[in-house]
C-alpha cells in the first residue's frame, strides 16, 4: 500500500470516530439509559405503578426526562406483560414477552400476560374528548378487566387495554408514579453518560452553561451541547490537532 493510501485510510478512520455524542440518534429517549437517583428509581416507579393497579402519571415540565423514563418503564414492564407506548396517535414502542402456550402457567398469569399495559407519552397531545373519557373511566376505580373493556370502546383501539400510565406536564388526577424535576447534577451525569462513547469531552463548565441557557430543559440543553461539541471537536476540526482547536475555541 502506498504512503498516500495509508494516510487517506487513517484520515477516514479518524473521521469515522468524529461523531457528536449529543446527536438525536444517541440522545433520544429510546436510546439513552434512564439515570436513577435517590428521588427517582425504576424499582420505586414500578412498585408504585403496581400498587396503584397499573394506573398512574409521571409529572414534569418539558424536557425533564418523562419520555426517557417511559421508555425505561416500557422495557421493564415488557418482561411481564405486552406493552404499548403511544404518543398521540402514534405507536412508538411495542413489546411482548416471549410467551409459549407450552409454558406452565396459572390462569391468572395467563390473563395478565394477555393484557397490554399502555404508556401514553405527550398526554397533552391526545384529543381532549378521548382524555376525558379515559380519566373518567379510571377515576371510577373499576377493576382492570372492566376498565379494559370500556377503554377499548372509548379509544376504538382493537387491543385488550387494561392499564394506563401517562406522562404529563400537569397533574391530571391519576396516582403519581413520580414527579420529575430537572437539576444540574442530573444533567451533568446525563452529559457524562452520553459522552462515554466519545473520545472528546465537553468540559463541565460548558455543560453548566448549556443547562442555564436551556432554563433547565434537558432537551434544549442537549441541543446547546450539540453545538458546543461541534464548536470544539466537530467536522471543521477534523484535519487539525484536537488540542489546538480545543484551546482556540475554549
Amino acid at each position: 500500500m502506498s504512503h498516500d493510501g495509508e494516510s487517506a485510510t487513517d484520515r477516514i478512520q479518524y473521521e469515522s470516530e468524529v461523531t457528536n455524542p449529543f446527536s438525536t440518534r444517541f440522545s433520544k429517549p429510546s436510546s439513552v439509559q434512564f439515570l436513577e437517583f435517590a428521588d427517582c428509581s425504576l424499582s420505586t416507579c414500578l412498585s408504585r405503578i403496581y400498587n396503584a393497579g397499573f394506573v398512574g402519571q409521571i409529572v414534569g415540565p418539558h424536557g425533564s426526562g418523562k419520555s426517557t423514563l417511559l421508555f425505561a418503564l416500557a422495557n421493564e414492564l415488557a418482561r411481564l406483560s405486552p406493552v404499548l407506548l403511544v404518543n398521540g396517535t402514534k405507536q412508538v414502542f411495542r413489546a411482548e414477552p416471549n410467551f409459549s402456550s407450552e409454558t406452565p402457567s396459572t390462569s391468572s398469569e395467563m390473563a395478565f400476560r394477555k393484557d397490554f399495559i399502555v404508556l401514553a407519552d405527550g398526554w397533552e397531545s391526545h384529543f381532549l374528548k378521548s382524555k376525558k373519557r379515559i380519566l373518567k373511566l379510571l377515576k371510577d376505580r373499576a377493576s382492570p378487566r372492566e376498565v379494559a373493556d370500556r377503554l377499548e370502546l372509548s379509544l376504538g383501539v382493537d387491543l385488550p387495554i387494561s392499564t394506563l400510565v401517562v406522562a404529563t406536564h400537569v397533574d391530571v388526577g391519576l396516582p403519581i408514579v413520580t414527579s420529575l424535576t430537572p437539576s444540574l447534577e442530573k444533567f451533568l451525569c446525563f452529559a457524562k453518560q452520553l459522552q462515554s462513547r466519545s473520545q472528546h469531552q465537553v468540559p463541565d463548565d460548558r455543560v453548566r452553561q448549556a443547562f442555564d441557557q436551556a432554563g433547565g430543559n434537558y432537551r434544549e440543553g442537549l441541543m446547546h451541547l450539540y453545538d458546543a461539541w461541534e464548536d470544539l471537536f466537530g467536522a471543521a476540526h477534523v484535519h487539525q490537532p484536537p488540542e489546538v482547536s480545543f484551546r482556540e475555541s475554549d
Binding site: G5, A8, I12, E15, S16, N20, S23, T24, R25, A235
Partner: protein, 141 residues
C-alpha cells in the same frame, strides 16, 4: 459470552465513488453451530444531527441455516454491492450523512448483536465547499 462478528471491507479505500463495487466478508465466532437463528448483512446510510434520524438501506441480505449447505451460519460469507449515486457522505454542522456496512446476528437465545464498519461514499462534501458553491452560483446569476 456474546458472539464475535468479524466484518471486513475487502477492497478498503479512502472513499468509494458511485458505481464502485463494495466487497465485504464476515465470519461469526464464539457461538455454537446451531445457536444462530439468522444473520443479516446490509449496506446503509443514516443521518446524524440535531433532528430526527433518517435511514436508507441500499443492500440487504438475510441468511438462515437453510441457506447454508451444512446449516452453519458462522462460516466465512462474502457479499458485494454496487455503490449508488446518492446520498453522498456529508459532514455538516447540523446534519451528517454516514454510510456503513452492518452485520446483525440473531442468536436463538439472547439479544441480537450488531457490528458496523463506516465508509465514505464520494470524496466528501465539506460544509465550506457547499457555501463556496452557493456563492459562485449567486455571483454567476
Amino acid at each position: 459470552m456474546e458472539p464475535l462478528i468479524s466484518l471486513t471491507i475487502r477492497n478498503r479505500k479512502a472513499y468509494y465513488e458511485p458505481g464502485d463495487r463494495l466487497e465485504c466478508e464476515y465470519q461469526i465466532d464464539a457461538i455454537g453451530t446451531n445457536a444462530i437463528e439468522a444473520v443479516e448483512s446490509s449496506v446503509l446510510w443514516h443521518t446524524e444531527g440535531k433532528g430526527d434520524e433518517d435511514i436508507g438501506v441500499h443492500f440487504f441480505e438475510r441468511r438462515t441455516p437453510i441457506d447454508c449447505p451444512d446449516g452453519d451460519l458462522r462460516e466465512l460469507h462474502r457479499f458485494s454491492t454496487i455503490c449508488p449515486p446518492t446520498p453522498l457522505s456529508y459532514e455538516g454542522r447540523i446534519l451528517k450523512v454516514k454510510w456503513c456496512v452492518r452485520v446483525r446476528v440473531f442468536p436463538k437465545n439472547g439479544k441480537e448483536i450488531s457490528f458496523d464498519i463506516p465508509f465514505r461514499l464520494g470524496k466528501g462534501i465539506k460544509p465550506n465547499s457547499v457555501e463556496k458553491l452557493i456563492a459562485v452560483t449567486e455571483t454567476t446569476r
